[in-house]
Symmetry: C2
């Protein structure tokens, strides 16, 4: 995998770039839709391509439980299994264990948990996470880390930083000892922890960055802390992280968050917001959010967003989509998801365009104002 910075903004840390993978090249800054269990909920790979999705994220925890990594391995990897031939990034499984599963024990060796599906017991270690991700065949592999919540005691955060250091070494070692089983390369992203403590963040960068070949992730944010604290840390990280590698801010965020983080030098994002909110009827537009279930759209025969070029907006009205939500017709969930993902991808494309034309600062201030962000 290779990363090349194309254009750096004069006034902010924003930059455009390209990540070359064996499944194609990705233009950054980039948003990655979440394909939790081998599918981006409600949409097909063909539709993802039509709305210019360049890379998707798969969840190791979910795929490990269902359909199981052996099955995906037999299918020739996750790309083949789900019929998606562009890049895939997989997480390490750790975050879902902490947030979804019943966590039994966490120790230096690994994490013991019970499946949220059937209560079955499992033990995940850095080595096991790497083994699973080898079998999934993702282009980008995330390190197995410990991600404490925002209200964790400082000693827990310190412990997590230490454990994340210990574990990145074991991840790297496993990958060196066990080369990939498919015809393409897989790149390990170390993850920086340290909560909202600058001191711990510095320590974490120092210990994990040496393991980064091409890409490093900022973890442990968007876990309940104040937005201002999150952006402070991202700004400080910008100084600490290598400039020549893509930076991936995990689990963020709203359209405004993406713009603020790009200003601070972030290149990659993933978030459930566009897909999950779509399924709840919340739609993103160039003039802010709207909820399609609202009574006022009952006889509104205009598209969700007149300025939007997605297939949903080109073919269907708010009144029709509202009707589909009313009758619980799954086509509605899909039309909403396509719109929201298109919106996110289009936002990233505008961000890239304005960085390259040199007016990113001015454009983004105006845009934030238009969508009603502070």
């Amino acid at each position: 995998m290779k990363f090349e910075v194309k254009v750096s903004d004069k006034n902010t840390s924003a930059r455009t770039g390209e990540i070359a993978t064996d499944h194609g090249t990705i233009s950054t800054p980039i948003f990655m839709p979440i394909g939790t269990q081998g599918a981006v909920k409600t949409v097909s790979p063909k539709e993802l391509k039509e709305i210019n999705t360049q890379i998707i994220l798969g969840n190791t925890y979910h795929l490990y439980l269902r359909p199981g990594t052996d099955l995906i391995n037999s299918a020739g990897g996750l790309h083949n299994f789900m019929s998606w031939d562009k890049p895939i990034l997989t997480d390490s499984g750790g975050f879902q264990i902490f947030s979804l599963a019943r966590l039994n024990k966490i120790a230096d060796d690994g994490v013991e948990f019970q499946s949220h599906l059937d209560g079955s017991k499992h033990f995940l270690t850095p080595e096991k996470s790497m083994e699973i991700q080898r079998q999934l065949g993702s282009d980008m592999i995330m390190a197995f880390d410990e991600c404490p919540p925002a209200d964790a005691d400082i000693n827990v955060v310190k412990q997590a930083v230490k454990r994340t250091e210990l574990w990145i070494k074991r991840c790297k070692q496993y990958l060196s000892d066990n080369p990939g089983i498919y015809d393409w390369r897989q790149t390990l992203f170390p993850i920086v922890q340290g909560g909202v403590s600058l001191k711990l963040r510095k320590q974490s960068v120092e210990t994990v960055a040496p393991f980064a070949d091409c890409g490093i992730a900022i973890g442990g944010l968007a876990v309940g802390e104040e937005k201002s604290a999150m952006f402070d840390i991202i700004e400080q990280m910008d100084e600490l992280l290598p400039k020549d590698q893509p930076r991936y801010l995990m689990g963020v965020g709203t359209p405004a968050d993406l713009i603020y983080a790009v200003r601070r030098g972030v290149d990659m994002f993933d978030c459930v917001l566009p897909t999950r909110n779509a399924r709840n009827g919340q739609l993103f537009t160039s003039f802010g959010k709207l909820n399609i279930r609202n009574e006022k759209y009952k006889t509104d025969f205009t598209p969700i967003d007149e300025n939007c070029g997605c297939t949903t907006c080109k073919s269907f009205t708010k009144a029709y989509i509202r009707h589909l939500f009313n009758i619980n017709e799954v086509l509605g969930l899909r039309l909403a998801t396509i719109h929201n993902l298109y919106y996110y991808h289009n936002l990233m494309e505008m961000i890239r365009l304005h960085i390259e034309t040199g007016d990113f600062g001015e454009w983004s201030r105006k845009y934030l104002n238009k969508i009603g962000a502070e």
Copy 2:
């Protein structure tokens, strides 16, 4: 609307033809997917076109309750509302009242019922059914009829035949007095009732056929009677119905049913089977049915049907679709629906082809054998 018989089979009553409507021409024999509430469940109009859907059916009862006919009228009719520019046939609402709603009273004047959604009271008459279908703007309007179940007393069936006669006159009168409100023509299909009694069927044809301009429907079958009794009646109807109009057998059926009915001179079909069964995991193939949830498909990395040209079979494996059903991912419902509808449309295309090449009888015997039909 115009109907033209193209080729009549030498050995059976099968024939190919073309129905010209203001929304395009339909090749018969034809299968019409059911778009109950302004959407063929799980699929988009674009996908319907990609699998060669030529006409869809809308349910008057459902659309009248939600989103309401005024709303669809404001949208410029059902075609505009749901973004489907090919022909639409709407039923009269009667069948759903009998099968879904709480029926309070049926009399010569009309039918009083309570909505299955909220218990609200409504009164549907032949005139009201015509008014609604005028507002929906369907290309083909079904007469308001009474459709008794198979176990109904002969006197109830007689009564239904009489009422259906009374009502077709009122339907016709209403349509004459109230011309269409859109820029396209709408054609009324009278419905023949009479259960499995040849005498009553004859009587019904004599009384309703004079009201047919271009198209007549065979109602009151597939309501619980023996299959053999159904096909006997269809065979007798073939003698009684005008040859120069399309015959529409309502609510039928399995792939084998379609072949048997085409042999007996039927031109048009609708049925929930391909769409509803798809959502239950039951898939139709050129070698019979299969249920995708079956454990044996867990590691089956072949398509549903190697001989199928649908997008589902071209891109996805049984193992993947089974996984989607396992995790309740709605993409699975869609992939299954697309496959089943493609199968039905392709079956009709093969039927048309073999009628035209002159080997329909022989081909259909072999085909029925292949799919395991008796």
